[in-house]
Structure formats: C-alpha cells, structure tokens
C-alpha cells in the first residue's frame, strides 16, 4: 500500500518536473509571468510529493514489507530498527530517490527564497533545475525503481550489507548527497547569469550561502566516509585514494577554489569567467562522482552498488549537461567585461589566483590518477591501479603550497602592498615557522613533507593569531573595551573573515593529524595465544580470553585484551563477526582513542587451535583529523551567519 503511494507520487513528480522545465521558459519567451509562477508552484508540489515517496519507502522498511523487492534485498526481520529506517539509502535505487528528494527540497527553497530578489534569473534557474531533476527522476522511475513488487514475497529479507551496518555509513551518503545536490543551486544561478548575460555579482551574492552550505556538507560526508573506513574496514587507515573517495574529493577541491575566488569577484569585479568555470566544473564533478559510484565503470571497495546498464543513461545525461554548460560558457564568455586588472603580485587578488591554481591543479592530479587506470584498461588489456605513492608524491606538495598561501593570504591587503610592510608582517611567523622546522628535526621527524608541515602549521597559526590579536587591540583602543568584549565584538562583526580563519585553523588541526597518522603509525602483525603479551609504543597488551558472543543478526568471536599504559588499564575487545545472512566474516576493530594516539586492534583468523592472528596499530593524532573537521564546520557555519557584506559606514 505505502509503496504504491510512493510510486504514484514519484510518477506525478516526474510529470511535474517536465512542467518545471518548460513552464518558466514559456513564461520568458511569451512574456507571461504567470507561467513562471506555475513553475514555482510545481517545484513546491514536487518537493511535497517526493517527501511522501521517501516516507512511503521508509515505512515499507519499518513494516518489513518484503513483497517490495528493494526492501527484501536490503533488510531482514532481525535488522535493528535504526538500520531499518536508514536502509532506504543502503542500495542504488533508494540512494537515487534520496538524491532526487534532496534536490527537490533545495529547488523549492531556492524558488521560495530568491523569488522576489532574483526575478530576472528565476525562470532560468527553475528551468535548469527542472531539467536536472527530470534527469534523475527518469532514472528512478524507469531504470532503477525502488518500488517494484515481488510476485512471491520471501518470508525474510536478505539483510543489509554487513559493512553498511555502521553509524558512519548511515550518515556518509546523505551528507555527501547534500553536498553534491547543493552545488546544483549555485550552478543553476551561474548558468542563468550566463544565459541572461547578467554575469555581475548578483548570482555570486545569491549563492554564497548555498555554496558554503554544500561545501560544509560535502566535508562532513567525506569525513564520515573516512571515519567509516577507519572504524569498519579494519586496515588501520582512513583514506585510501580509492576512485570513489577521489570522486567526492574533486568537487570538494574545486568548490573550495570557488569559495575563495568569488571573494575576488565580489570585491574587485574580477575572475568572472573563471568563477563560472569553477562552479560548472564543481557541479559536473559532483555528477561524475555519482556516475562513478553508480555505473561500475571503476571498480573499488564501493563495488556493492554497480550497474553498467544505468551507467549508459547517466553517461548520456552527463554528456548533455556538460556539453551544454561548457559550450555555453565558451560561447558567452567573451561578453563578460573584466574591468579592473591585477595591479601587483603583492596583493590579495594575486594570492587568491595562486590559491585557485593550486586547488585546480590538485583536482587535476586527482582526476588524472582516477582516470588513468580506466584509460589503460580501456585502451589496452592491462589493468593498473594508482595508489597512495602517486598521490603522496604529486598531491601533497601542492597542498603544502596551499598551506603556505593560507598563512599569507589573509594578511596581504587588496590591490597592492609594499615589500617593507610584508617584511614587518611576516617576520614573527617566519621565525616561528623556522623554529618549528628545527624542533621537528630535533624530535626526529625525517620525512621532508613532515618537517615542512610542522613549519607551515606554526607559520599559519602565528599569522592568524597575530591578525586576531592586532585587530582585537585596535578595537579595544578605538572603543575602549576590555580584551574579551573587544574580541567578541571583532569576531561577531566580521563573521565571514573570522569564520574563514577558523576553517583555516581546523585545516591545520587536520594536517597535524595527517602528519601524525601518516608518518608515525606503528603496525604489528602477530600470532598470539592466551596470556601472550606484547609492547607497542608505551602500551603493553595481554590477550586475556577469546570467546563467542552474539547479537540479533550476527555472532562473533571476541578477543579481550588488557592494555596498560602508565598505570592506566583498559579492555579492548576486537571481534570477527559473521552476520546470519552473509557468509563473509567482517572485522570489528577495537579502538582506544585518546587525544594523542589511537590503539587499534584487529582480530584475524584462528591459525590453529588456541592461536589467533592479530594486527595491532598505534596511530598518533588520528583524533585530530576528526576534531579538525568539527572546527572547520563551526567556522563555515559562523561565516554563513553573515549575509551580504555590511555596508561600510560613511565617514
């Protein structure tokens, strides 16, 4: 019953998305505003209908309706209710429906919020988003319907993939999709600006919050994925440069470039074509991400959601969208007038230009590394994989360059400055950076990237703190305030600037985490029997027992380790789980996480009676990666709270 309601509302939403695509265009060409209004109403109804469709699918899951094929394939009677409610996006069909629903929600919000402020571009925005939505709904309805019934319903379902039964994986896809889908709105505004030849600041101002929001969601999605890989896959790491991880990372990089370069357009009316290029590319890469995951064109650990048949459709859809967008960009770009020019390499504009080149070069290296295996396999019979060694060599140096700019950018003023002034500004940070490098060398950091990172972290932190202290002082002197009030006033009145700086500090925290976990991980592979003790770092671990344990839908062998460190004692319980509906055992790593290091124990197979294999990792600073992400997100939302730049008071 519920599934028919869901199916039917999706069908009506499909028809209405054709209305959303065409009605505003009719309104524009025949000068009939009422048709544009029809498009707007259609967007609201589509959103309501797709909400109903998602609800219907979730309710079918909650009611264990195994006559629905999708439910039978992704749930079982024993699946805990939390995973039952979220199994909706555990497979291909449901994920696409979720995508479409989020897009419809964003379209409705955009149609509501920007209706009166952007009346010229609105018809085009609605129509473009209608086209994207139509593309996805066609896929949902005709090629991957989650609403199909089974003629002979099974008594019990096949259960959700055990790897997906993890909180990290529950939140990873929705946030990722929020990010991907969110970029559709700035993209549509950019295209509308191109079409109507009004490529001035209007679209940039309209979409700033959308872009920030999408970028934040993408960040959360990517980090949830990394967190899941770390907690669930049991290999002691969190990022493998897997093609599908890369696919989400590329729009993140170009989106980040866009966030920076729009500031130049806003302040100095420059980089207009470049910004359009960046946002189109970002959305295109988001689609590419979906294409890579959903088509099976690249094989990876994410292979549980592949289907070449749908791949053809997504490819055609992407081809239409890419060729239209980039074609329009190349045709129309000549009409954009760039009034001011770069005046000096000692300016904020110039540092943003270099920042953008670094980020786009970074995205290109990731794109090359992702596509190269595909090219080799397609053009010859060999199969290659591009892994961490390539990215470490090519990508990390680019990002170190980014860090250097991150330290310099916020301090350099717009338009131009003098060398003497720069020398004054950077004296202290450079000195601190140098001290950092020397300390790192003395502490025994030998890897050049590690040494450089430590120096750069100190350099960037000190430029940011120096700026903060100086501006707080200025405010204190001007309005004779106490230090705390002065500081609070400062960051409240410049939410964009200090939100951005907080994001930078979050990034530094993450970089510290990358250095610690990437360069100083200790790994042991060994066979242990009961009572054996080993030392790793300052920890001493004793295998106390190995027992059987069970929950609703799995049973497991569970080892218990007693870990001691300076009088502190904890118990670690790694498991080897077998889910009742799957014959593949999964590992549940036992992780002790502290601010300075993680202790990570993975249980392997029984080698012989009474002897088991174990892998044990001591990884410094992993938690800094997660903490840094949190700081970044707070920073982004702080920056989002300020709308348009405040008008400067006339003197």
């Amino acid at each position: 019953m519920w599934i028919e309601i869901a199916h039917f509302s999706t069908l009506i939403a499909l028809v209405l998305s054709i209305v959303l695509l065409t009605a505003p265009l009719i309104g524009v060409f025949w000068q009939r505003p009422v048709w544009v209004r029809i498009g707007r109403q259609a967007s609201f109804i589509i959103c309501a209908l797709l909400t109903l469709a998602c609800a219907g699918l979730i309710i079918s899951f909650l009611k264990h309706d195994f006559s629905v094929k999708y439910v039978a394939e992704h749930a079982s009677l024993k699946l805990p209710i939390f995973y039952l409610a979220t199994a909706m996006w555990g497979g291909h069909e449901g994920s696409l429906l979720l995508w479409a629903w989020m897009l419809s929600l964003f379209v409705a919000i955009a149609a509501w919020k920007h209706w009166s402020t952007h009346s010229v571009s609105m018809p085009w925005v609605l129509s473009i988003l209608g086209g994207v939505l139509l593309g996805f709904l066609l896929l949902v309805v005709f090629l991957s319907s989650p609403f199909d019934r089974l003629i002979n319903p099974p008594f019990d379902g096949r259960d959700l993939n055990p790897l997906l039964q993890d909180p990290g994986m529950v939140f990873h896809p929705p946030f990722l999709y929020l990010g991907y889908v969110g970029f559709a709105i700035p993209y549509a505004f950019a295209m509308a600006a191109l079409i109507t030849s009004q490529s001035d600041n209007e679209w940039i101002l309209a979409t700033r919050r959308w872009t920030l929001f999408s970028w934040a969601m993408l960040t959360i999605g990517i980090v949830f994925g990394a967190y899941w890989a770390y907690y669930e896959l049991g290999w002691g790491g969190y990022w493998a440069w897997d093609p599908v991880e890369n696919a989400s990372f590329m729009p993140w990089l170009t989106g980040l470039a866009f966030l920076h370069s729009v500031m130049v357009q806003e302040r100095r009316r420059m980089f207009k074509t470049w910004n359009l290029f960046l946002i189109i590319t970002t959305f295109a890469l988001s689609l590419l991400g979906t294409f890579l995951v959903r088509s099976g064109v690249l094989s990876s650990v994410h292979a549980f959601a592949t289907d070449p048949g749908r791949g053809v459709y997504i490819l055609v859809f992407m081809a239409v969208l890419l060729l239209l967008s980039f074609g329009l960009l190349t045709m129309k770009s000549d009409q954009l007038k760039e009034t001011p020019q770069l005046e000096s390499p000692l300016s904020k504009e110039f540092s943003f230009l270099i920042n953008n080149l670094f980020l786009v070069a970074g995205a290109c290296t990731v794109l090359l590394g992702t596509l190269y295996p595909l090219a080799v396999e397609t053009l010859s019979t060999a199969k290659v994989s591009v892994g961490a060694p390539y990215y470490n060599k090519v990508f990390i140096p680019i990002m170190l360059g980014m860090l250097l700019l991150m330290g310099a950018g916020p301090i350099i003023p717009w338009q131009r400055t003098t060398l003497a002034r720069l020398r004054r500004e950077f004296l202290l940070p450079i000195a601190l950076g140098a001290i950092g490098i020397i300390t790192a060398l003395l502490l025994g950091v030998t890897h050049p990237f590690g040494v450089a990172s430590v120096g750069l972290i100190l350099f960037v932190t000190s430029t940011h703190l120096q700026d903060l202290i100086r501006n707080t002082k200025a405010r204190m002197d001007k309005e004779s305030l106490g230090p705390l009030v002065g500081f609070i006033q400062l960051i409240q009145r410049n939410k964009r600037r200090y939100g951005g700086m907080l994001v930078h500090l979050g990034t530094l925290t993450m970089v510290a985490g990358f250095v610690g976990s990437g360069l100083f991980q200790e790994e042991r592979n060994l066979f242990l029997s009961l009572g054996d003790t080993l030392r790793i770092g300052s920890w001493s671990l004793t295998l106390q027992s190995v027992d059987k344990t069970a929950r609703r839908n799995w049973k497991a062998d569970e080892a218990v380790f007693k870990a001691e460190n300076n009088g502190k004692t904890i118990l670690l319980k790694p498991q080897k789980r077998t889910y009742s509906k799957s014959d593949q055992p999964t590992t549940e790593a036992a992780i002790h996480s502290a601010w300075n290091e993680d202790l990570y124990v993975v249980m392997g197979d029984a080698v012989k009676e009474g002897v088991w294999s174990f892998r044990i990792y001591r990884t410094p600073l992993v938690s800094w990666v997660w903490t840094g992400t949190g700081i970044m997100i707070v920073g982004v939302f702080w920056a989002m709270m300020q709308g348009r730049r405040l008008q400067r008071k006339p003197v």
């Binding site: 420059m270 290029f277 064109v297 791949g311 081809a319 190349t330 760039e338 005046e343 199969k383 014959d583």
Partner: protein, 191 residues
C-alpha cells in the same frame, strides 16, 4: 608599478583555452563511454604466463600427498574451493561433468585445492553435493592459496604441460567453459 604581464592576460577565455576545455570534456566522456564495457570483476593475475609454484600437500582422501609436479606433461586445472563457499555449490555440478570429461582425455586432469577448511567439513560437502573423484589437496592454512594469489573462492587456474599458468578464472566455472576457454588454449599448443 603596474605589471604589464597581468594587464595583458586578463581572464577572458581565449581560443586555445576554449578548445582545451571542450576537448578535455569530450575526451573524458568518450573514455567513460568506452570504459562501460570493462568488466570490473576481471582482475588479471600477474602469475599468468609464469611458472606455477609447485605444491605437495596431504590428500583429503588420506591417500598419498598431492603434488602438482606429478602431473607435468598434462594440462592441469587447479580449482580452489572450500566447503564454506556458497558459489562453490553452484559451480559443483559443472565440476562433476568436467571430471567425467577429464577421465576420457589423456592430456587433462583436475586437482582440487580445499583451502581454509577442515577435512570433516570438506568431506561432508562432497558427500552432499557429489564427489567428482579427482585428487583434493588440503590447504587449511592457505599456504598454497597465498602462493597462487587467490582472492576468493572459487578460483581456477589452467596449468600447461610445461608447468606454466596459462589462464586464471575468477568465480564459478560456467557450463561450456572447457570448450570455450580451455580447449582453444590447449589446441593452440604450448606457445
């Protein structure tokens, strides 16, 4: 001082950039279109066309140890399986059929390698699904499987009379596999 370099460059796109941009977009799309035909399951083994690592392992039926070298001079199909492997059940009827074929031919034998398994479970599996009758080597600690780079079960390797691995098949062997895949190699001679 204003730098001429920046003035001239501007940021409007010029012709070359347009061609590069559209060319790159087209190239990526074409690559994907071609790439859709790739089979992600097809992972070539680096061991193909290399000498097979010999093994001598206890036999499941308690007879003399099974050794690959013993069959030098014949084509050998080495089939990795385990009683814990679900896909091996679907492959099994074809193995029974293929075992009959092998009995008729002088140049072709099959060896099973039962890995990560116990003799009891393996025997129960054969009793339940039918015993093809060829030699089964026991590999409880996966020594042979690791030497041969086995990812999962079932996996099969075709070794030529000179002891070189000539083909790897991942996943269950399908009916007609011998005529379609193995015979062309065998009739093509030994390179």
């Amino acid at each position: 001082m204003t730098h001429r370099f920046f003035k001239d460059k501007g940021t409007n796109m010029n012709g070359i950039w347009k061609i590069i941009l559209l060319g790159a977009v087209l190239a990526i799309l074409i690559l994907f279109a071609l790439g859709l035909n790739n089979d992600p399951r097809n992972i070539p083994s680096p061991l193909v066309n290399r000498p097979a690592t010999n093994f001598t392992a206890p036999a499941l039926d308690g007879g003399p140890p099974v050794s690959l070298e013993f069959y030098r001079g014949k084509w050998v199909l080495v089939n990795f399986w385990g009683s814990w492997c679900i896909s091996c059940i679907s492959e099994h009827p074809y193995l029974l059929e293929l075992a009959n074929k092998a009995k008729m031919r002088k140049d072709f034998v099959i060896i099973g390698v039962d890995f990560r398994d116990t003799p009891e479970a393996a025997k129960a599996f054969l009793a339940r699904h039918g015993n093809p009758g060829y030699k089964q080597a026991m590999d409880p600690e996966q020594k042979i499987a690791i030497d041969w780079g086995v990812y999962g079960a079932p996996e099969s390797y075709l070794v030529d009379p000179m002891g070189t691995i000539r083909m790897k098949h991942t996943g269950p062997l399908f009916p007609g596999w011998f005529e379609m895949r193995a015979l062309p190699l065998m009739e093509g001679g030994e390179r």
